[in-house]
Amino acid sequence: MTELKLELKEKIIEQLNLEDVSADDIADQDPLFGEGLGLDSIDALELIVMLDKDYGIKLADPKEGRKIFESVETMAAYITANRSA
């Protein structure tokens, strides 16, 4: 799980072009949207594609994303429970 969290942090930084942010700067429970990393709706789409492409998880209901993408920890938990890739 710790490895997956680190992997997610690195992917988020790379795919969302978060300049001057390192994996160490993102705590597992930090909110990804709003006051945390400040991600927005376009980033949410990027993360949905990442789940599908890298972990084989298709989000049938986009509303699910609100909880799944709350933090790196919630993302990692969801991936661990649902991954097929």
């Binding site: 072009n17 978060l18 001057d20 400040g38 376009i42 492409k53």
Partner: protein, 357 residues
């Protein structure tokens, strides 16, 4: 009755250190290469990190160049009535990445960011979003006359009082696939050439580069005014022996003759196949006129003539012609009328006329 058009602010990001408007080619960078990249300003001091992370290089260069021009014009951003951009290739870097994603992922998993960034009008759109400008927003894509097309649109709108202040510019970025393909077809020189040897290279192709040049054009002359934009004219196809005739008629349309021109800025790029287009003017109609060139310093790209326009404005303001630009030894102490001529590979020719005011 139309009104004059003034250039009240200028901005440049190029392969020379031109982003700082307080200096004028005082510290020239010399290279020996087949491609040259821009000297980047510290983008973070112009663009908030949250906005910058989705910006392609062309958008970053344009944002800095546009902000510099608006700042120099001493204009509030909400006073800009229209944004008009010329670009040969738009944000080609993200276009390439988007297409590569389509191929690599078998048309699946396409993400929005690269798609948003990959259209030609991304730059004009992003500038408008950043400034909150809801006015006319237009992008001209027409190879080597993209910038002049934007300039002509702005000039007509200002003359006819459809707008008071227009941000107009030209931008192109240099990316890997573009370099690879143009190297393959020998539009890029095969061997590196030193900056001051470009004209004498005797080889095919040009040194490729990139840049962003933006200007605030206004119907009213401000205290920051550099020059008046007197005329712009473009031609898609001209033979070598038609260039002088077209230059003469362009000047006649503006009630001028070749003798009236104090300085001519020529777009020589060292391509042995096409530099002859400039020779006709340099050795004929303007042989007794002070001549300068610039692509040895900033390379060739679709909107490289934006640098010539920037240069003309700078020279009128500073009364100074940096020796590194000189083609001949004809002296002129204070240029008042400057003619720019550019073409690329024998196509898309442009004449632009600036006057001290």
């Amino acid at each position: 009755m139309t009104r004059p058009v003034y250039i009240n602010g200028i901005g440049s990001v190029s392969a020379q250190k031109t982003f700082d408007n307080s200096v004028f080619l005082e510290d020239v960078t010399y290279r020996s290469d087949t491609i040259i990249n821009v000297i980047s300003p510290d983008y973070k001091s112009y663009i908030p990190p949250a906005a910058a992370r989705r910006m392609a290089k062309g958008i970053k260069m344009s944002t800095v160049s546009a902000k510099t021009a608006i700042q120099e014009a001493d204009l509030e951003e909400n006073k800009i009535d229209a944004i008009i951009v010329g670009t040969g290739l738009g944000c080609i870097g993200d276009s390439e990445k988007f297409v590569r994603d389509i191929i690599d992922n078998n048309e699946q998993y396409l993400t929005p960011t690269r798609f948003i960034q990959s259209s030609h009008n991304t730059v004009a759109g992003q500038l408008a979003l950043g400034m909150g400008c809801k006015g006319h927003n237009f992008t001209y894509v027409h190879s080597a006359i993209s910038f002049e097309s934007a300039l002509l649109d702005a000039k007509l709108q200002l003359e006819n009082k459809e707008a008071d202040n227009i941000l107009v510019g030209g931008v192109d970025e240099l990316v890997d696939h573009h370099i690879d393909t143009h190297r393959l077809i020998e539009h890029i020189k095969q061997e590196p050439v030193a900056t001051m040897a470009v004209l004498k290279s005797g080889t095919k192709g040009a040194i490729f580069s990139e840049g962003a040049h933006f200007f605030v054009l206004s119907g009213e002359k401000s205290h920051s005014c550099h020059a008046e934009l007197v005329g712009v004219s473009t031609f898609n196809n001209l033979s070598k022996n038609q260039v002088s005739e077209k230059a003469r008629s362009f000047l006649e349309e503006n009630n001028l003759t070749s003798d009236s021109i104090d300085l001519i800025i020529l777009g020589y790029n060292g391509d042995v196949e096409f530099d002859g287009y400039y020779d006709g003017l340099a050795n004929g109609l303007f042989s007794n006129t002070c001549q300068i060139y610039y692509k040895h310093l900033v390379g060739e790209f679709d909107t490289a003539s934006g640098f010539a326009f920037w240069l003309g404005n700078k020279i009128i303001r500073h009364h100074n012609i940096p020796p590194v630009l000189r083609l001949n030894s004809v002296e002129v102490s204070e240029p008042k009328l400057i003619l720019c001529y550019n073409q690329y590979r024998g196509e898309n020719h442009s004449f632009t006329l600036l006057r001290k005011c």
